[in-house]
Protein backbone atom coordinates (compact mmCIF):
# COMPACT_ATOMS: atom_id res chain seq x y z
CA UNK A 1 0.00 0.00 0.00
CA UNK A 2 2.74 2.43 0.91
CA UNK A 3 5.24 1.32 -1.68
CA UNK A 4 3.66 2.96 -4.72
CA UNK A 5 3.30 6.48 -3.27
CA UNK A 6 6.77 6.11 -1.80
CA UNK A 7 8.24 5.33 -5.20
CA UNK A 8 6.25 8.18 -6.76
CA UNK A 9 7.65 10.51 -4.12
CA UNK A 10 11.16 9.35 -4.85
CA UNK A 11 10.66 9.84 -8.60
CA UNK A 12 9.17 13.28 -8.00
CA UNK A 13 12.30 14.35 -6.14
CA UNK A 14 14.83 12.69 -8.40
CA UNK A 15 13.51 13.22 -11.93
CA UNK A 16 14.14 16.99 -12.02
CA UNK A 17 17.74 16.33 -10.93
CA UNK A 18 18.12 13.69 -13.64
CA UNK A 19 16.68 16.16 -16.14
CA UNK A 20 19.29 18.71 -15.08
CA UNK A 21 22.06 16.18 -15.69
CA UNK A 22 20.56 14.98 -18.98
CA UNK A 23 20.23 18.51 -20.34
CA UNK A 24 23.70 19.61 -19.21
CA UNK A 25 25.84 20.64 -22.19
CA UNK A 26 28.48 18.00 -21.50
CA UNK A 27 30.59 18.74 -24.61
CA UNK A 28 31.15 22.38 -23.76
CA UNK A 29 31.01 21.83 -20.03
CA UNK A 30 34.77 22.00 -19.32
CA UNK A 31 35.21 25.34 -21.08
CA UNK A 32 32.20 26.81 -19.28
CA UNK A 33 33.30 25.29 -15.99
CA UNK A 34 36.81 26.68 -15.97
CA UNK A 35 35.78 30.28 -16.43
CA UNK A 36 36.95 32.44 -13.57
CA UNK A 37 33.41 33.62 -12.81
CA UNK A 38 32.24 30.15 -11.84
CA UNK A 39 35.09 29.65 -9.39
CA UNK A 40 34.66 33.08 -7.87
CA UNK A 41 30.98 32.40 -7.27
CA UNK A 42 31.60 28.88 -5.98
CA UNK A 43 34.34 29.99 -3.58
CA UNK A 44 32.17 32.82 -2.29
CA UNK A 45 29.27 30.41 -1.81
CA UNK A 46 31.38 27.95 0.18
CA UNK A 47 32.99 30.65 2.33
CA UNK A 48 29.69 32.36 3.08
CA UNK A 49 27.73 29.17 3.79
CA UNK A 50 30.48 27.97 6.16
CA UNK A 51 30.76 31.33 7.94
CA UNK A 52 26.96 31.53 8.24
CA UNK A 53 26.90 28.02 9.72
CA UNK A 54 29.59 28.98 12.25
CA UNK A 55 27.52 31.99 13.25
CA UNK A 56 24.44 29.78 13.59
CA UNK A 57 26.33 27.31 15.80
CA UNK A 58 27.61 30.11 18.02
CA UNK A 59 24.15 31.60 18.56
CA UNK A 60 21.88 28.68 17.75
CA UNK A 61 23.10 26.04 20.23
CA UNK A 62 22.66 28.34 23.25
CA UNK A 63 19.24 29.32 21.91
CA UNK A 64 18.26 25.67 21.49
CA UNK A 65 19.48 24.98 25.03
CA UNK A 66 17.36 27.85 26.34
CA UNK A 67 14.30 26.52 24.53
CA UNK A 68 14.80 22.94 25.71
CA UNK A 69 16.07 23.45 29.26
CA UNK A 70 15.44 27.05 30.25
CA UNK A 71 12.67 27.96 32.64
CA UNK A 72 11.16 30.77 30.67
CA UNK A 73 7.56 31.86 30.31
CA UNK A 74 5.94 31.69 26.87
CA UNK A 75 8.40 29.12 25.61
CA UNK A 76 5.97 27.78 23.02
CA UNK A 77 5.52 31.24 21.58
CA UNK A 78 9.27 31.84 21.44
CA UNK A 79 9.77 28.50 19.73
CA UNK A 80 7.14 29.44 17.14
CA UNK A 81 8.84 32.80 16.55
CA UNK A 82 12.21 31.09 16.07
CA UNK A 83 10.74 29.05 13.23
CA UNK A 84 9.24 32.07 11.45
CA UNK A 85 12.19 32.44 9.06
CA UNK A 86 11.41 28.87 7.94
CA UNK A 87 8.02 29.83 6.56
CA UNK A 88 8.78 33.43 5.61
CA UNK A 89 9.44 33.86 1.89
CA UNK A 90 13.20 34.55 1.82
CA UNK A 91 12.69 37.76 -0.19
CA UNK A 92 10.54 39.08 2.65
CA UNK A 93 13.29 38.05 5.06
CA UNK A 94 15.70 40.10 2.97
CA UNK A 95 13.46 43.15 3.08
CA UNK A 96 13.05 42.71 6.85
CA UNK A 97 16.84 42.61 7.22
CA UNK A 98 17.12 45.78 5.14
CA UNK A 99 14.57 47.53 7.35
CA UNK A 100 16.58 46.64 10.46
CA UNK A 101 20.21 46.44 9.34
CA UNK A 102 20.10 48.55 6.16
CA UNK A 103 21.68 51.97 5.93
CA UNK A 104 18.40 53.59 6.96
CA UNK A 105 17.32 50.66 9.15
CA UNK A 106 16.49 50.69 12.86
CA UNK A 107 19.94 49.44 13.88
CA UNK A 108 21.80 49.90 10.62
CA UNK A 109 21.33 53.66 10.76
CA UNK A 110 23.43 53.82 13.93
CA UNK A 111 26.06 51.43 12.60
CA UNK A 112 26.42 53.79 9.67
CA UNK A 113 26.61 57.07 11.60
CA UNK A 114 28.78 55.79 14.48
CA UNK A 115 31.13 53.42 12.69
CA UNK A 116 30.66 54.29 9.01
CA UNK A 117 29.81 50.64 8.50
CA UNK A 118 26.88 49.22 6.56
CA UNK A 119 26.05 45.59 5.88
CA UNK A 120 24.14 45.62 2.56
CA UNK A 121 26.26 44.96 -0.55
CA UNK A 122 29.06 43.34 1.48
CA UNK A 123 30.14 39.72 1.92
CA UNK A 124 29.28 40.11 5.61
CA UNK A 125 25.77 40.97 4.47
CA UNK A 126 25.55 37.69 2.55
CA UNK A 127 26.59 35.79 5.69
CA UNK A 128 23.98 37.59 7.79
CA UNK A 129 21.23 36.89 5.24
CA UNK A 130 22.16 33.20 4.99
CA UNK A 131 22.40 32.83 8.77
CA UNK A 132 18.98 34.43 9.22
CA UNK A 133 17.35 31.93 6.89
CA UNK A 134 19.35 28.86 7.98
CA UNK A 135 19.50 29.18 11.77
CA UNK A 136 16.02 27.75 12.49
CA UNK A 137 17.13 24.45 10.95
CA UNK A 138 19.98 24.18 13.45
CA UNK A 139 17.95 25.37 16.43
CA UNK A 140 15.13 22.92 15.78
CA UNK A 141 17.30 19.88 15.36
CA UNK A 142 19.53 20.70 18.36
CA UNK A 143 16.50 21.40 20.51
CA UNK A 144 15.01 18.08 19.47
CA UNK A 145 18.20 16.29 20.46
CA UNK A 146 18.30 18.11 23.80
CA UNK A 147 14.74 17.14 24.63
CA UNK A 148 15.44 13.53 23.74
CA UNK A 149 18.61 13.45 25.87
CA UNK A 150 18.19 12.21 29.42
CA UNK A 151 18.58 15.16 31.83
CA UNK A 152 19.56 12.77 34.63
CA UNK A 153 23.13 12.63 33.36
CA UNK A 154 23.33 16.39 33.71
CA UNK A 155 21.84 16.18 37.19
CA UNK A 156 24.35 13.51 38.13
CA UNK A 157 27.19 15.71 36.89
CA UNK A 158 25.80 18.58 38.91
CA UNK A 159 25.64 16.50 42.10
CA UNK A 160 29.26 15.58 41.54
CA UNK A 161 30.12 19.27 41.70
CA UNK A 162 30.36 20.20 38.04
CA UNK A 163 29.31 23.75 37.25
CA UNK A 164 26.70 24.60 34.59
CA UNK A 165 29.24 25.40 31.88
CA UNK A 166 31.36 22.29 32.62
CA UNK A 167 28.24 20.09 32.58
CA UNK A 168 27.12 21.60 29.29
CA UNK A 169 30.55 21.15 27.71
CA UNK A 170 31.43 17.69 28.99
CA UNK A 171 28.05 15.99 29.40
CA UNK A 172 25.30 17.71 27.39
CA UNK A 173 27.18 18.50 24.18
CA UNK A 174 28.68 15.02 23.65
CA UNK A 175 25.30 13.39 24.22
CA UNK A 176 23.59 15.53 21.60
CA UNK A 177 26.48 15.47 19.10
CA UNK A 178 24.57 13.63 16.36
CA UNK A 179 21.73 16.15 16.55
CA UNK A 180 24.18 19.04 16.37
CA UNK A 181 25.91 17.52 13.34
CA UNK A 182 22.63 16.86 11.55
CA UNK A 183 21.49 20.41 12.30
CA UNK A 184 24.81 21.80 11.11
CA UNK A 185 24.57 19.92 7.83
CA UNK A 186 20.99 21.08 7.20
CA UNK A 187 21.91 24.62 8.12
CA UNK A 188 24.94 24.62 5.79
CA UNK A 189 22.96 23.17 2.91
CA UNK A 190 20.21 25.74 3.36
CA UNK A 191 22.77 28.56 3.47
CA UNK A 192 24.51 27.25 0.35
CA UNK A 193 21.29 27.35 -1.67
CA UNK A 194 20.05 30.67 -0.27
CA UNK A 195 18.83 33.07 -2.96
CA UNK A 196 15.97 35.42 -2.06
CA UNK A 197 17.22 36.98 1.16
CA UNK A 198 20.75 37.25 -0.23
CA UNK A 199 19.87 39.10 -3.43
CA UNK A 200 17.45 41.36 -1.58
CA UNK A 201 19.66 42.22 1.37
CA UNK A 202 23.19 41.93 0.01
CA UNK A 203 22.60 42.71 -3.66
CA UNK A 204 24.60 41.15 -6.43
CA UNK A 205 28.21 41.98 -7.25
CA UNK A 206 30.71 39.47 -8.64
CA UNK A 207 33.33 38.39 -6.09
CA UNK A 208 31.61 40.22 -3.28
CA UNK A 209 28.00 39.08 -3.07
CA UNK A 210 27.31 36.97 -6.18
CA UNK A 211 26.94 33.46 -4.76
CA UNK A 212 26.18 30.45 -6.96
CA UNK A 213 22.36 30.68 -6.77
CA UNK A 214 22.50 34.35 -7.83
CA UNK A 215 24.86 33.52 -10.69
CA UNK A 216 22.47 30.75 -11.81
CA UNK A 217 19.49 33.10 -11.79
CA UNK A 218 21.22 35.78 -13.86
CA UNK A 219 22.73 33.26 -16.29
CA UNK A 220 19.18 32.02 -17.00
CA UNK A 221 18.35 35.42 -18.51
CA UNK A 222 20.92 35.11 -21.26
CA UNK A 223 22.59 31.70 -21.41
CA UNK A 224 20.53 28.84 -19.96
CA UNK A 225 23.39 26.42 -20.69
CA UNK A 226 25.67 28.24 -18.27
CA UNK A 227 22.88 28.21 -15.69
CA UNK A 228 22.62 24.43 -16.02
CA UNK A 229 26.38 24.03 -15.66
CA UNK A 230 26.41 26.19 -12.53
CA UNK A 231 23.52 24.20 -11.09
CA UNK A 232 25.26 20.88 -11.75
CA UNK A 233 28.40 22.15 -10.01
CA UNK A 234 26.38 23.27 -6.99
CA UNK A 235 24.55 19.94 -6.97
CA UNK A 236 27.80 17.95 -7.07
CA UNK A 237 29.43 20.00 -4.33
CA UNK A 238 26.50 19.60 -1.99
CA UNK A 239 26.13 15.88 -2.69
CA UNK A 240 29.84 15.28 -2.07
CA UNK A 241 29.85 17.26 1.17
CA UNK A 242 26.63 15.76 2.49
CA UNK A 243 27.61 12.20 1.56
CA UNK A 244 31.04 12.44 3.16
CA UNK A 245 29.58 13.93 6.31
CA UNK A 246 26.90 11.31 6.48
CA UNK A 247 29.41 8.49 6.24
CA UNK A 248 31.63 9.88 8.91
CA UNK A 249 29.41 11.65 11.36
CA UNK A 250 25.75 11.08 10.97
CA UNK A 251 25.86 7.31 11.27
CA UNK A 252 25.13 7.88 14.94
CA UNK A 253 21.63 8.93 13.95
CA UNK A 254 20.64 5.59 12.56
Amino acid sequence: MLLLPALLGLAFLLIPLIGLLAKAPWSTLPSKLFSADVWTALRLSLVCATAATALCLLLGIPLAWLLARGELPGRGLIRALVTVPLVLPPVVGGVALLLVLGRRGLIGEHLDTWFGFSLPFTTAGVIVAEAFVAMPFLVISVEGALRAADPRYEEAAATLGAGRWLTFRRVTLPSIAPGVVAGTVLCWARALGEFGATITFAGNFPGRTTTMPLAVYLALETDPDVAVVLSVVLLLVSVVVLASLRERWISGLR
Binding site: V95, L98, L99, G102, R103, R104, P120, F121, I199, T200, A202, G203, N204, F205, P206, T209, T210, L214, Y217, L218, A219, E221, T222
Partner: protein, 255 residues
Amino acid sequence: MFRRTALAALTTVAALTLVSCGADKPAASSPSSSVSGTVTVFAAASLTGTFTQLGKDFEAANPGVKVVFNFAGSSALATQINQGAPADVFASAAPKNMDQVTDKGTPTTFVQNTLEIAVPKGNPGKIAGLKDFTDKNKKIALCAAQVPCGAAADKVFKAAGLTPQPDSLEQDVKAALTKVSLGEVDAALVYKTDVLAAKEKVDGIEFPEADKAINEYPIATLSKAPNATGAKAFVDYILSDKGKAVLSAAGFGQP
Protein backbone atom coordinates in the same frame (compact mmCIF):
# COMPACT_ATOMS: atom_id res chain seq x y z
CA MET B 1 12.91 68.99 -9.00
CA PHE B 2 9.77 70.88 -8.01
CA ARG B 3 9.28 72.05 -11.53
CA ARG B 4 9.40 68.47 -12.76
CA THR B 5 6.89 67.33 -10.16
CA ALA B 6 4.62 70.24 -10.94
CA LEU B 7 4.88 69.46 -14.63
CA ALA B 8 4.04 65.80 -14.03
CA ALA B 9 1.04 66.79 -11.93
CA LEU B 10 -0.15 69.13 -14.67
CA THR B 11 0.23 66.44 -17.30
CA THR B 12 -1.74 64.03 -15.12
CA VAL B 13 -4.54 66.56 -14.69
CA ALA B 14 -4.55 67.21 -18.43
CA ALA B 15 -4.68 63.50 -19.14
CA LEU B 16 -7.51 62.93 -16.69
CA THR B 17 -9.46 65.78 -18.24
CA LEU B 18 -8.97 64.32 -21.68
CA VAL B 19 -9.93 60.87 -20.52
CA SER B 20 -13.08 62.02 -18.77
CA CYS B 21 -14.06 63.96 -21.87
CA GLY B 22 -13.72 60.76 -23.85
CA ALA B 23 -15.76 58.83 -21.33
CA ASP B 24 -18.53 61.42 -21.38
CA LYS B 25 -18.98 61.21 -25.11
CA PRO B 26 -18.65 57.59 -26.16
CA ALA B 27 -20.48 58.29 -29.40
CA ALA B 28 -17.71 60.66 -30.43
CA SER B 29 -15.15 57.85 -30.98
CA SER B 30 -15.71 56.48 -34.44
CA PRO B 31 -15.24 52.67 -34.08
CA SER B 32 -17.55 52.37 -31.06
CA SER B 33 -20.58 51.20 -33.02
CA SER B 34 -18.97 48.19 -34.71
CA VAL B 35 -16.86 46.89 -31.78
CA SER B 36 -18.23 44.16 -29.55
CA GLY B 37 -17.22 41.15 -27.50
CA THR B 38 -13.95 40.64 -25.64
CA VAL B 39 -10.59 42.07 -26.68
CA THR B 40 -7.62 40.09 -25.37
CA VAL B 41 -4.47 42.18 -25.00
CA PHE B 42 -1.02 40.75 -24.26
CA ALA B 43 1.12 43.57 -22.92
CA ALA B 44 4.58 44.02 -21.39
CA ALA B 45 4.68 44.13 -17.59
CA SER B 46 5.88 47.73 -17.61
CA LEU B 47 2.58 48.74 -19.21
CA THR B 48 0.46 47.29 -16.39
CA GLY B 49 -0.58 50.61 -14.82
CA THR B 50 -1.25 52.57 -18.00
CA PHE B 51 -2.94 49.81 -19.98
CA THR B 52 -5.24 48.87 -17.10
CA GLN B 53 -6.37 52.51 -17.06
CA LEU B 54 -6.67 52.68 -20.86
CA GLY B 55 -8.61 49.39 -20.92
CA LYS B 56 -11.20 50.86 -18.55
CA ASP B 57 -11.43 54.02 -20.67
CA PHE B 58 -11.82 51.93 -23.83
CA GLU B 59 -14.62 49.92 -22.22
CA ALA B 60 -16.33 53.17 -21.17
CA ALA B 61 -16.05 54.52 -24.70
CA ASN B 62 -17.37 51.28 -26.22
CA PRO B 63 -20.26 49.98 -24.10
CA GLY B 64 -20.55 46.21 -24.12
CA VAL B 65 -16.88 45.61 -24.91
CA LYS B 66 -14.65 43.88 -22.40
CA VAL B 67 -10.84 44.16 -22.40
CA VAL B 68 -8.87 41.30 -20.87
CA PHE B 69 -5.14 41.72 -20.18
CA ASN B 70 -2.26 39.32 -19.84
CA PHE B 71 0.72 41.22 -18.44
CA ALA B 72 4.12 39.50 -18.40
CA GLY B 73 7.67 39.83 -19.64
CA SER B 74 7.70 40.52 -23.39
CA SER B 75 9.69 37.43 -24.29
CA ALA B 76 7.33 35.16 -22.36
CA LEU B 77 4.34 36.77 -24.10
CA ALA B 78 5.93 36.33 -27.55
CA THR B 79 6.45 32.64 -26.79
CA GLN B 80 2.83 32.24 -25.62
CA ILE B 81 1.49 33.90 -28.78
CA ASN B 82 3.64 31.72 -31.03
CA GLN B 83 2.39 28.68 -29.10
CA GLY B 84 -1.17 29.60 -30.09
CA ALA B 85 -2.46 31.67 -27.18
CA PRO B 86 -5.72 33.38 -28.32
CA ALA B 87 -4.57 37.02 -28.27
CA ASP B 88 -5.92 39.96 -30.29
CA VAL B 89 -3.24 42.57 -29.57
CA PHE B 90 0.41 42.38 -28.57
CA ALA B 91 2.22 45.35 -27.01
CA SER B 92 5.90 44.57 -26.47
CA ALA B 93 8.56 46.41 -24.46
CA ALA B 94 11.17 45.75 -27.15
CA PRO B 95 11.15 45.44 -30.96
CA LYS B 96 13.15 42.20 -30.57
CA ASN B 97 10.22 40.41 -28.91
CA MET B 98 7.75 41.79 -31.44
CA ASP B 99 9.91 40.36 -34.23
CA GLN B 100 9.67 36.90 -32.61
CA VAL B 101 5.91 36.87 -33.26
CA THR B 102 5.30 35.61 -36.78
CA ASP B 103 1.60 36.17 -37.61
CA LYS B 104 0.82 39.81 -37.00
CA GLY B 105 -0.19 43.09 -38.61
CA THR B 106 2.36 45.87 -39.15
CA PRO B 107 3.72 46.93 -35.74
CA THR B 108 3.65 50.61 -34.78
CA THR B 109 5.99 52.11 -32.21
CA PHE B 110 3.60 53.81 -29.79
CA VAL B 111 5.83 54.89 -26.90
CA GLN B 112 9.44 54.95 -25.82
CA ASN B 113 11.04 54.74 -22.42
CA THR B 114 14.35 56.27 -21.39
CA LEU B 115 16.62 55.79 -18.43
CA GLU B 116 16.68 58.26 -15.60
CA ILE B 117 18.75 58.55 -12.43
CA ALA B 118 16.66 57.65 -9.39
CA VAL B 119 17.75 58.98 -6.00
CA PRO B 120 16.06 58.66 -2.59
CA LYS B 121 13.73 61.58 -1.77
CA GLY B 122 15.82 64.66 -0.97
CA ASN B 123 18.91 63.22 -2.69
CA PRO B 124 20.95 62.45 0.49
CA GLY B 125 23.92 61.23 -1.58
CA LYS B 126 24.09 64.60 -3.40
CA ILE B 127 24.02 63.01 -6.83
CA ALA B 128 24.35 65.60 -9.57
CA GLY B 129 24.64 63.48 -12.68
CA LEU B 130 25.94 60.39 -14.37
CA LYS B 131 29.51 61.24 -13.29
CA ASP B 132 28.68 60.43 -9.66
CA PHE B 133 28.21 56.79 -10.70
CA THR B 134 32.01 56.55 -11.00
CA ASP B 135 32.51 57.66 -7.38
CA LYS B 136 33.55 54.70 -5.23
CA ASN B 137 32.28 56.45 -2.10
CA LYS B 138 28.71 56.59 -3.34
CA LYS B 139 26.43 53.58 -3.09
CA ILE B 140 25.24 52.74 -6.59
CA ALA B 141 22.87 50.08 -7.94
CA LEU B 142 22.56 49.19 -11.62
CA CYS B 143 20.63 46.46 -13.40
CA ALA B 144 22.70 43.40 -14.31
CA ALA B 145 23.92 43.46 -17.91
CA GLN B 146 21.82 40.34 -18.62
CA VAL B 147 18.49 42.17 -18.26
CA PRO B 148 17.22 44.95 -20.60
CA CYS B 149 17.68 47.90 -18.22
CA GLY B 150 21.26 46.77 -17.57
CA ALA B 151 22.01 46.56 -21.28
CA ALA B 152 20.60 50.07 -21.70
CA ALA B 153 22.74 51.33 -18.81
CA ASP B 154 25.85 49.86 -20.46
CA LYS B 155 25.08 51.79 -23.65
CA VAL B 156 24.60 55.02 -21.73
CA PHE B 157 27.90 54.70 -19.86
CA LYS B 158 29.77 53.84 -23.06
CA ALA B 159 28.27 56.90 -24.74
CA ALA B 160 29.33 59.07 -21.79
CA GLY B 161 32.80 57.51 -21.66
CA LEU B 162 32.39 56.63 -17.98
CA THR B 163 33.16 53.47 -16.02
CA PRO B 164 30.56 53.08 -13.26
CA GLN B 165 31.45 51.69 -9.82
CA PRO B 166 28.27 49.87 -8.82
CA ASP B 167 27.84 48.21 -5.43
CA SER B 168 25.17 45.90 -6.76
CA LEU B 169 23.92 44.59 -10.10
CA GLU B 170 20.22 44.00 -9.53
CA GLN B 171 18.19 41.25 -11.16
CA ASP B 172 15.55 43.59 -12.58
CA VAL B 173 14.62 47.24 -12.70
CA LYS B 174 12.11 46.97 -9.84
CA ALA B 175 14.78 45.52 -7.53
CA ALA B 176 17.07 48.45 -8.35
CA LEU B 177 14.22 50.86 -7.64
CA THR B 178 13.50 49.17 -4.29
CA LYS B 179 17.10 49.73 -3.19
CA VAL B 180 16.63 53.44 -3.93
CA SER B 181 13.25 53.79 -2.25
CA LEU B 182 14.60 52.09 0.90
CA GLY B 183 17.55 54.50 0.86
CA GLU B 184 20.10 51.67 0.64
CA VAL B 185 21.82 53.23 -2.37
CA ASP B 186 22.49 56.85 -3.26
CA ALA B 187 21.44 56.35 -6.88
CA ALA B 188 20.36 53.83 -9.49
CA LEU B 189 19.62 53.92 -13.20
CA VAL B 190 15.99 52.95 -13.87
CA TYR B 191 13.34 53.81 -16.42
CA LYS B 192 11.66 57.18 -16.31
CA THR B 193 8.28 55.49 -15.85
CA ASP B 194 9.60 53.69 -12.74
CA VAL B 195 10.69 56.98 -11.20
CA LEU B 196 7.24 58.47 -11.79
CA ALA B 197 5.47 55.38 -10.44
CA ALA B 198 7.48 55.67 -7.19
CA LYS B 199 7.49 59.44 -6.96
CA GLU B 200 6.50 59.44 -3.27
CA LYS B 201 9.82 57.87 -2.37
CA VAL B 202 12.29 58.71 -5.12
CA ASP B 203 13.33 61.74 -7.11
CA GLY B 204 14.45 61.60 -10.72
CA ILE B 205 17.40 63.31 -12.37
CA GLU B 206 17.51 63.49 -16.14
CA PHE B 207 20.80 63.29 -18.01
CA PRO B 208 21.64 64.01 -21.66
CA GLU B 209 23.17 60.59 -22.49
CA ALA B 210 19.77 58.92 -21.89
CA ASP B 211 19.07 59.57 -25.58
CA LYS B 212 21.68 56.94 -26.46
CA ALA B 213 19.57 54.09 -25.11
CA ILE B 214 15.96 54.65 -26.04
CA ASN B 215 13.71 51.66 -25.50
CA GLU B 216 10.93 51.47 -28.11
CA TYR B 217 7.56 49.78 -27.50
CA PRO B 218 5.78 48.42 -30.60
CA ILE B 219 2.10 47.42 -30.69
CA ALA B 220 0.39 45.24 -33.33
CA THR B 221 -2.81 43.37 -34.05
CA LEU B 222 -2.38 39.63 -34.49
CA SER B 223 -3.36 37.77 -37.66
CA LYS B 224 -5.12 34.99 -35.76
CA ALA B 225 -7.01 37.44 -33.54
CA PRO B 226 -10.38 35.97 -32.48
CA ASN B 227 -11.75 39.54 -32.39
CA ALA B 228 -10.13 41.37 -35.34
CA THR B 229 -12.33 44.49 -35.25
CA GLY B 230 -11.87 44.78 -31.50
CA ALA B 231 -8.11 44.40 -31.92
CA LYS B 232 -7.94 47.20 -34.48
CA ALA B 233 -10.17 49.48 -32.38
CA PHE B 234 -8.00 48.95 -29.29
CA VAL B 235 -4.75 49.67 -31.15
CA ASP B 236 -6.34 52.80 -32.64
CA TYR B 237 -7.39 53.85 -29.15
CA ILE B 238 -3.83 53.45 -27.80
CA LEU B 239 -2.52 55.49 -30.75
CA SER B 240 -5.19 58.18 -30.29
CA ASP B 241 -4.59 61.43 -28.44
CA LYS B 242 -6.39 60.03 -25.39
CA GLY B 243 -4.10 57.03 -25.29
CA LYS B 244 -1.05 59.21 -25.75
CA ALA B 245 -2.10 61.50 -22.90
CA VAL B 246 -2.37 58.64 -20.39
CA LEU B 247 0.93 57.13 -21.48
CA SER B 248 2.75 60.49 -21.39
CA ALA B 249 1.43 61.18 -17.92
CA ALA B 250 3.06 57.93 -16.76
CA GLY B 251 6.41 59.10 -18.13
CA PHE B 252 6.48 57.36 -21.50
CA GLY B 253 7.94 59.41 -24.35
CA GLN B 254 6.36 59.77 -27.77
CA PRO B 255 8.32 58.31 -30.69
